[in-house]
Symmetry: D2
């Protein structure tokens, strides 16, 4: 059983000495305070011999900051004016890739008028093949900013490389770390340091523990604005992580204070399955859902098979609204 | 691509000659007619040279009778007065094991008064360990019959061995084939020949194709009264098939005319997850759900950790009813 | 952590009283003694109050008889004159299915003259589809007996149903329980009671613990002549359990006294992979290998794609012999 | 069925026009020639209308350059004076992490005198937890260079971020892309452009196709010096990709011209399993093996449980040598 230690420091206390004493500990600033975190169990007496720390807290997990060690209160992540984790499921929608001005603005306009809270769209695209469309990159970011100006929707978009974080962060309201980069640790750290809210997708083979340890890389940079996003795991039936893990949506709130949303587009890979799994995600307590929407899904440059049309998106919103009205889950009160 | 052949025979036509011509074909009687089924592609002309068959139908699947080759109409399975697959989700509930007269009758009474349609209870128990409670066996069957007499609920119970089929069939309204026996072919055949409705659970490692081929063993005995039951698959996260595959619930109706229900008790293994996954199963179109209920779950002789109390069961029914009232899925109109 | 108890009884001691005291304990006779086994921890003092038992042994596993609790000595399984687990890897070979007298006798003759120790051949065939060749059944058993008379090779063949155990046991020297029936508990018990050596294949989704618990069903009938057979597990790459788990071959001897062999035919499903994986199995310590051989593999009625020709089999034997001569593994000294 | 196209261009032909005509095609220079590659099927006549290309080749795979479309000859990757894929298995060994001058130089000295061809050692370490030792980074690179100077062994070390490629490439003879970064596409491209030989590890959930598509990112930068490294996949038994896929070692040469080696340290995670699986990898045709070695494995700062001592390493070399001498595999002729 792992046991890790979180130490809250007095204002004047000497960090350097304590860090020298504890190998591989991390110094973290958050919530206006200074902290030292270690994955080792450090007896309180020994710490107090070396520092006049304010508080020592232990966690039985290897992800102390992401765990509930610091308190049971769930984190609310603020993306522009939108709150994720505040009790009202949030709808994130938009095209897989930003393809053109027309495609993005028409989609954004439709979504803004129909219950969407945050606009998604990929400018930098991680594609399995080097011979697939790789995204409009910087031009895509500019179009996303234009769509925000037009609709008022905050923007979430993926960043694939540490050196792109600064540029992407100047355009986006929230940075997405994709499933393939869930353990790209330099990227996690750089994204964490940007101070932006982060959407951290789960790798198809990651256990909940490994996923939360990836989140810990961001939190240990002092950035607690992290939303977890389940997007499908490997099974004996489904290839390529095409099996949405609804269990994760229920178990994460027992393990962590971070909000969790579901991406049924990637988690199914098949258009006809997206809406039922989106509703099922809300039923099981997701703090939001993220879906891919395109004016003409079958002409999309990426992920067309799992992308909803405007009409299908509208039907999803209508069903989500009914779930919310029924309010048979304390969690579900979907605000259109 | 496999292509199999179904031949409907004229009343007088000679079966023997045709069977001799087609290796490993099966002769099947159902729907008042005589049929020959083969997993090979048999050109219509060749068949007609040898038999005055009425109709020749081809299926692109290796499970022609379970596929939609004979028509798109979904099968309704009749268990006593209860119809499974008729558009109203069915609730199957009861203890994992029949343990005692009191335990079973008190449970059955509570369930009968609270929205349950079919009573489940194990008399013959497949247990991972030879040192676990193995079920009351014949005495358990008698108690189930008593519970039926008391409450009017039809009974589904597991049969583990071909030589037990006859005895179990004299008591039960529906025979359950457990996940471990999904490919116990002598058992499938014997259960099929009993003429009883069959509940066929999915093995945690079976693809949908292999599962439907197992169902085909029952159908090819002339017994089309088969309900499929998803109960969890293997994933990179979950051990022992503890991951309910909601995708299967949505895909089976595209592949087969057979009804499909979900067992969130086995499919999660954890009491707190059962109700959300039950509701999610209904949302995604399940023809019913099967859950384990016990007067004192923590004292149950088997599966206590995933078993609901009466109170938890009642709450599940209430939520299911709300889903039904909302009717955002054409499928869901839960009849209490 | 589970902790189970094994009690060796004095000759005159009263079994009934002790069994009444310990729920679900099993009474077992083996090694000329009487034993009681329970999956519970039973304090020695409490047992001795109720019985003058000779010895009380504890196991930290849920498979006490299959574990090393009773001693570190590995079990040698005797199949006719052949010893499995005695330090010399054993070669089991033969056709997937017994198809005809010619096919079987020509194969058996070739194998007997070329390093094979035990002849395999299926008379009762578990087939995924009801429309595939289902085996020659009783006629197949007779042909196997004829092959034994001709060649002197002992016979291993599969039994699929408890009511067939008696018949199959009159012909076979060793009974095979297939992967699909690994948790067919009535079959395990009946096969155990036959007193015949048992070859127990692993289900593709079984953990080592669940597999050894299945073996425990046989051992708890007093039959310790069990050989485990690894034949492929599920992975994110391979379908249908086509991934031979060489780790199991190395870990089982740390967990159990039972011999373990490998079946690279089923564990790969592809002829070109069979020989390399057979040799790799020997390298990692397998007590034997089982391969499918056919005079004309491409005409085989089952499993042709993974079946070796006589020539390929001979090449395998030659390579196995070289591995043995090299003797870089203490285990490998392949006796042709 | 995907079908991709490779076009070899005449010296003077106009690339721009052709690229404009084929969406998402890549221009590649290698083997002293100019090429255009597309994942689409482009009819030869259409291409010739637009360009006087020299040659048009088609591949049925989505990884045309990594496939055998350009010829069946296997690629030999040159790391300093060491050839990988030339018929003699190559031994890559060294500590998981570079920890200190003493640790590295003593290990390197021992390995250089005992059959090792390439020294491994991590300077930049991808660790699951942010609170684990993260590597000596630039200082580690300097120590690796010192070890090379001392022993003559070429160096392979991991690079985790595109902006580190230039620095790492000034020290290393071969760049390693870790399993977690297998689909870190900016890193693959940057590493490819460095011109250095690349060791590309497989992600535990990647199919062979997805892995080869990742390699294609490097090849399409004109860098064909890529060695694939199998290091364990996810199974129903093993967590964290701890199941070495020997099937991959046999199948990759059927699909690709690239060499493939095995890493039994990560592929088992357990010291006692490393040597048997290393030998099994050679038996099944690996072009080399990579193992972790440390003067005091139990004191290692990372991966101690799967790390060999000097003595264990020597025993592995001795066994590998015997395999080579036996030469029962055409591939195995291990050159110490």
């Amino acid at each position: 059983m792992s046991q890790s230690t979180i130490i809250k420091l007095h204002n004047g206390s000497d960090v350097t000495q304590l860090l020298a004493y504890i190998p591989y500990a991390r110094y973290v600033e958050f919530a206006g305070s200074r902290w030292i975190v270690s994955e080792r169990f450090l007896p309180k007496e020994e710490i107090e011999q070396r520092s006049d720390s304010v508080e020592v807290v232990y966690s039985s997990t290897p992800y102390p900051l992401a765990s509930k060690a610091l308190g049971a209160q769930r984190t609310i992540v603020q993306v522009g004016a939108v709150s994720i984790g505040a009790g009202h499921p949030v709808m994130i929608a938009g095209p897989c890739s930003v393809e053109s001005r027309d495609q993005l603005l028409s989609t954004a306009t439709h979504l803004a008028q129909n219950g969407c809270h945050i606009l998604r769209g990929g400018a930098y695209k991680p594609r399995t093949s080097p011979y697939s469309f790789q995204g409009l990159q910087h031009d895509g970011l500019k179009l996303l900013a234009e769509a925000r100006a037009l609709t008022g929707l905050p923007i979430v978009t993926e960043v694939m490389s540490p050196q792109d974080v600064e540029l992407v962060a100047t355009y986006a309201d929230m940075l997405q770390i994709g499933a393939r980069n869930m353990q790209n640790f330099p990227l996690l750290a750089e994204a964490g340091r940007s101070g932006k809210p982060i959407l951290l997708k789960r790798s198809p083979w990651a256990t909940l523990t490994i996923w939360l340890q990836a989140a810990e890389y961001i939190l240990s940079e002092g950035n607690f604005q992290v939303v977890l996003c389940e997007r499908g795991i490997c099974t004996s039936e489904a290839s390529a992580g095409r099996h949405l893990d609804l269990t994760a949506i229920q178990l994460i709130p027992e393990l962590s204070h971070l909000p969790i949303i579901a991406d049924p587009s990637h988690g199914t890979g098949q258009r006809s399955l997206v809406t039922p799994m989106a509703i099922a995600s809300l039923i099981t307590g997701a703090d939001g859902i993220m879906v891919e929407v395109h004016p003409e899904p079958d002409k999309a440059l990426s992920d067309g098979k799992q992308t909803l049309s405007f009409q299908e998106y509208d039907a999803l919103i209508e069903k989500a609204q009914k779930v919310a009205d029924t309010s048979f889950s304390t969690c579900v009160s979907f605000a259109v």
